[in-house]
């Protein structure tokens, strides 16, 4: 078996997600290569070469791969996918954008968001917003898979894989990058934070999210939100936790003014400890919370901040 992992990277740095995807690759077993595709990605390749279990890092460094557009990336992957039994990527917006395109180019099915590796061809994955878990077996010669990174512990960084350049340029006349508005934050990444504190519609407005910030500062937490809070314009879209937002599984998840719709629970119910703060004692969020506090968040949050 030989497995290709598509590296996830941002701003010239390897994203933490990749170490989790390599862990899934190790669970499958076999030789593991990592593909780093982008522009000016030498530093990313160096970091990828340190991931335990990786034998070779292949680097495609060219302007056409900047911004990770799906069209050239899928074409690139398709040129050497035949060398592999599996192609894996994180179930990030990049992985979800690129891998199904690759799968169709190779006429194979794609498996989204796997939670576990049962064997080299059998995997578990969530369906119906995580309210059911399906065990699926692929009959295709090439398995194209996105990995739920929270379900696999990251591999270490003591490796020393070889790094080699991929040649042969791909051109792309289908799509062009226009611009990007990336949210800048000093806080840890939502998907990787040890503590996440999220606000919902109950926060009332965007300014009130400052009540969460003081607590997040003290706990080194990332800040998330429900869809209702994002839709209402309180906070940007990249903060949405849930079935159609980010999936998080921190050690501590604090839900504030969030009712607990199944679509929200789908994104956080694998957190180790869940705290819910809500003024409605009937709110469904309390059914999954380890510690529930019924109260007005405008009173509870300042008190909590002062007592941490």
């Amino acid at each position: 078996m030989s497995i290709l992992v598509l590296a996830e990277h941002h701003d010239g740095q390897l994203a933490g997600a990749t170490a989790h995807v390599v862990a899934a690759a190790k669970a499958i077993g076999g030789d593991i290569d990592v593909l780093v595709a982008g522009e000016n990605v030498a530093a990313v390749a160096e970091s990828a070469a340190k991931l335990d279990g990786v034998s070779r890092v292949r680097v495609a460094d060219a302007a056409v791969y900047a911004h990770q557009l799906a069209e050239p990336l899928a074409d690139l992957l398709a040129t050497f996918a035949d060398d592999y039994s599996h192609v894996l990527a994180a179930a990030s917006t990049t992985g979800k954008n690129v891998l199904p395109r690759l799968a169709a180019l190779k006429d194979v099915a794609a498996l989204s968001d796997i939670l576990s590796v049962e064997s080299a061809d059998t995997f578990k994955r969530p369906i119906y917003a995580g309210n059911a878990i399906a065990t699926v077996q692929s009959a295709d010669p090439l398995k194209v898979i996105t990995v739920r990174t929270t379900a696999f512990d990251a591999v270490g960084e003591t490796g020393s894989a070889t790094i080699e350049a991929v040649d042969g340029a791909i051109d792309n006349s289908l799509s062009a990058f226009v611009d990007e508005q990336l949210e800048q934050s000093e806080r840890p990444e939502l998907g990787a934070a040890r503590v996440v504190i999220s606000g919902g519609r109950g926060m009332g407005n965007g300014e009130n999210f400052q009540l969460l910030e003081g607590i997040a500062d003290k706990l080194g937490a990332a800040i998330g939100a429900s869809r209702a809070a994002v839709d209402a314009g309180f906070v940007p879209n990249d903060m949405q936790v849930g079935q159609t937002g980010k999936i998080v599984a921190p050690e501590l998840y604090i839900a504030v003014g969030i009712s607990g719709a199944i679509q929200h629970l789908a994104g956080m119910k694998d957190s180790k400890v869940i705290v819910a703060i809500n003024k409605d004692e009937e709110a469904p969020i309390f059914q999954v919370a380890d510690y529930g506090l019924v109260g007005d968040l405008f009173e509870v949050l300042p008190e909590l901040e002062s007592k941490l």
Partner: protein, 249 residues
């Protein structure tokens, strides 16, 4: 410009699902079904393009059992001009749906194809990307804004770090995210009118597509339930529990 919209019949998003006792699948008997929420957004976007004079005709397509006609009629009531129903009772994977849609695209030659970003039953998030690959089109996935220009379309995409805008050569594939628009409800007179709009049926055989699944669903289980916890009476108690019981502070 002709716009093709793919809609899927799925379990209503409010329904709490049950797994069958034999673990073969989720139990869909007597369960309320509806149009996939992301497909509603896709239909709405097409209708708005028509209202703005950009789209000239909207064709709605579904792949599924006879009952999926209901969702096509909904699309027609919302403003689609005609519908195509690819009928099958089989479980159709995203790859096969994409292949069927490619046949429809080849026949209809739309300027834009709009799909949902994901079906809330399989949660696959694959079909649009696959269709784009098979038809050799560019893809604007997870769209929160679609701006059709001369020969191109600018699509603003919801990505992990924020928003990204790409320009795609037309024809192109767009998949919708939640914030692209807020779908309208169908009005009763439109629902009546929709009954008379053309609805064509085709089979996978007629389209020459092999829909045999590539994956086997071996088992479906209910995830481990979280045990309900406790209610604490005060912030002090909460902090104490988090420190000394859960040990997460």
């Amino acid at each position: 410009m002709k716009v093709l919209v793919a809609v899927k019949r799925v379990i209503d998003y409010n329904v709490k699902i049950r797994v069958k006792a034999d673990h073969s699948d989720v139990d869909l008997t007597n369960v309320k079904m509806a149009m996939n929420p992301f497909c509603e957004i896709a239909v709405e976007e097409a209708v708005r393009l028509k209202e703005r004079g950009i789209a000239t005709e909207i064709v709605a397509v579904t792949v599924g059992p006879k009952a999926a006609q209901e969702q096509l009629r909904t699309a027609l009531a919302l403003g689609a001009d005609r519908a195509i129903h690819v009928t099958t009772d089989e479980r159709v994977e995203s790859l096969a749906v994409a292949k069927l849609l490619k046949q429809v695209v080849d026949a209809e030659q739309p300027g834009l194809v709009i799909l949902g970003k994901q079906a809330i039953d399989t949660d696959n998030n694959q079909t649009g990307q696959m269709l784009a690959a098979l038809t050799g089109m560019g893809q604007g996935t997870f769209a929160s804004k679609v701006d059709v220009k001369e020969g191109t379309v600018d699509v603003t995409r919801e990505i992990d770090g924020g928003l990204q805008t790409v320009a795609l050569t037309l024809p192109a594939v767009v998949t919708t995210d939640l914030r692209l628009n807020e779908p309208r409800y169908a009005k009763l007179p439109d629902i009546m009118k929709a009954k008379k709009k053309p609805l064509e049926t085709k089979t996978p055989e007629e389209l020459g597509v092999d829909i045999a699944p590539r994956t086997a669903q071996l088992k479906v289980e209910t995830p481990a339930e979280r045990k309900g916890g406790i209610k604490v009476g005060s912030v002090d108690e909460l902090v104490d529990k988090l420190k000394n019981e859960a040990k997460v502070l």
